[in-house]
Symmetry: C3
């Protein structure tokens, strides 16, 4: 006999008393057939989003205060193997209320909230931003204290600080504005004694209805050596109620060094709110020669 988790709507119908303690099981199963130039075709997990399984819940503490928890593990769908040990994506307990939200544990950094927000081609394996260095930050430093502010007229911010007994700190901050068709997000992360890298990111998007324009700027400043400066531009074009085309380009330039460029184009077809088919290609120019990649996949969210 199978047991089934019930939708929140049923819960609400059963009376407010039960809304006080809800636990959810959620996740993504995303896999694509990928063919890179010079390689055999193969399956790759997470063409658009990392496949995952999560458990989360909220408790209403009264007075607008809530206690939250979330445990989330990443999965390589080609083998079923976990990506990292246990809940390496996220595992935290938090308190939320009028003051914002505090999360403690294995939480994504504040920079991570901004990083992929305006990457063209669905921030997927097809995204030209694959050439970027500023996507190579530490997203899960562990032992992280994260605070997100409430929204003030569309403006909100977050800060995180990874505490480590060995003094290998990661400090991260973001500010963003969301209002009507406009999104602007700024993120900064200092990895200090861990990698010595400082990451800066500025993203923006504008939704004109017939097209949503995307732009991104990134910078990586290592403790020693040259800094890298990066740009991306893209457009999401709704071709129908269920079909979206996205295209874009990205560049990454090391001061006095190499320049890498990439273009990508993809389409996504929503079979439902939770299930999407996608396909497209990506082409990359770099000093070592051109590469290109074709992918077609399915993403199922639950």
């Amino acid at each position: 006999m199978k047991k089934t988790l019930i939708a929140l709507a049923v819960l609400a119908a059963s009376g407010a008393a039960f809304a006080q303690s809800s636990v959810s099981l959620y996740g993504i199963a995303d896999i694509a057939l990928v063919k890179a130039k010079g390689s055999s075709a193969q399956l790759a997990s997470g063409g658009v989003s990392t496949s995952r399984l999560g458990f989360k819940g909220t408790e209403d503490l009264g007075g607008g205060l809530k206690a939250n928890f979330l445990f989330e593990e990443g999965i390589d769908l080609t083998t079923g193997a976990l990506k990292g040990n246990g809940f390496a994506r996220q595992a935290y307990v938090g308190l939320a209320g009028g003051f914002g939200e505090v999360k403690l544990g294995n939480v994504y950094t504040a920079y991570d909230d901004i990083s992929g927000a305006t990457n063209p081609v669905f921030d997927s394996v097809l995204a030209p931003t694959v050439v970027w260095a500023s996507t190579g930050y530490i997203s899960n430093p562990g032992s992280n204290i994260y605070y997100a502010s409430p929204s003030f007229g569309g403006v909100s911010g977050a800060v995180s600080y990874a505490l480590d007994g060995s003094k290998q700190k990661v400090t991260s901050v973001n500010v963003k504005y969301e209002g009507g068709p406009v999104y602007v997000g700024f993120g900064y992360q200092d990895e200090a004694d861990r990698t010595g890298n400082k990451f800066t990111r500025l993203n923006g998007s504008y939704d004109l209805g017939v097209v949503k324009l995307l732009a991104g700027y990134g910078q990586v400043k290592p403790e020693v050596g040259s800094k890298t400066t990066e740009y991306s531009f893209g457009a999401d074009v709704p071709l129908g109620s269920a079909l979206t085309l996205s295209t874009g380009l990205a560049s990454s330039k090391v001061d006095g060094g190499d320049n890498r460029n990439s273009v990508g184009l993809g389409v996504a077809y929503s079979m439902s709110k939770r299930t999407t088919l996608y396909t497209g290609f990506r082409k990359e120019n770099k000093a070592a020669g051109d590469t290109s990649l074709f992918a077609a996949g399915v993403k199922h969210t639950f």
Copy 2:
């Protein structure tokens, strides 16, 4: 406060709208006391079925189409350790409809659908087919594309192809017929560059009511060396509404080489649809001497 997953029946009662997105948690906890000749008695996980925990769900996409996912991990109940990394048993996303079902990811091969179907003594640790070489196939090659056809008058088939960038392919196919008291299943698996083995399996059963007869034939053909030919015969005898006896024998013969034989006998008592007690013994004759094994255990399905 404990949260409880609700039976599907409740879901249905709540209105069809919620049937569109159901997530289930399921599994098996199976453990047995096992005493092998010359060894101390010990607990062994999975006397009948591998202990496991799984998460699966179905989304109705309309027009008879469904999106499915399934994540399943094996558990050694004696230590709680996972069998393999993460969801090493299965992890896939799939689409099903009138055309059949496609699954992508870490899926069992088509051969696996057939392999244990008619093994005597509940395909358990007591099954005489333990002497078989044709049970030593790769069940989870990873990066697998699996297609199962719908049933045409009881006849259905499946094919799977494990895609691997390093060209270590596993190709697998099955055809089966199920109708009234008759079951016939044929499976073939070519492990090519992985092990060089080719597995063939033909299974059949006939349910006479007072007894269900079981027969199996297997063949393993390595790239180099002699082939192995194998037979099994068995009978499931219902002794009452809740009690079943199963017995059988199996042989495995390497061309121009060793012959191994085994007999097994077991009884299973269903305390409920989901909980079964079982016990029995298995005896094996081989060149290196006789071995025998006694087991008694409990299998709980949820």
Copy 3:
């Protein structure tokens, strides 16, 4: 769309038929900021209780008999990593009824039921019993057979025996009395060929209403070498409906050897039945010098 597990109360309201098969998802997310003398402040998982995620269920077999299963994994909330491989805390199947309960698999020993029951300062990272050697027993020997008796006028007992093919047995027993304000618990564990240690524990508490008195006695007898004798005394003082103070001291003395002492003090504030804030300190005197520790954390149970 998020799926939500429903409270047992809803299940009951849906009719008794569904009470026959319930599966629960449960856990704890507990993290604290800890500052030890001479070290940097850092986050530590499980200030009061090990962070965990579990799955359990009960099936009513009729006639007062039930089948149970439980899978539970420990989590280091600072990294999300599992503590041990898979369900290293517990993984078992069991039968319960008028006769008591039998559990088979990866079950805690009978001694473990008693061990922390009267440790002062919430049996937390602030508990002075950290200096004890008798808390260093094997809690999860694996391949364990556990039996707990029903309560006879408040008296109950349990016995466990870890079966291991390599003869490394762990035998454990407990007896306890619970009635009105009184609790007394006795535990004994013989780790034979595993560590050679024999553990004895006697715990008691008396609830006077304005204060609950706690006392503990422990002894560790190694196969070779001197035995260790240990005491603890403590008090839980309810300061209000939601606020509890707990304090205590503990000592550990090796025969003819070192003496270690510790004191601890903590307060716990219940924001709700499921969410608690806690803080306090611990001080320890030992031959190698004094140490002390401050902690403040949050424990969320779901």
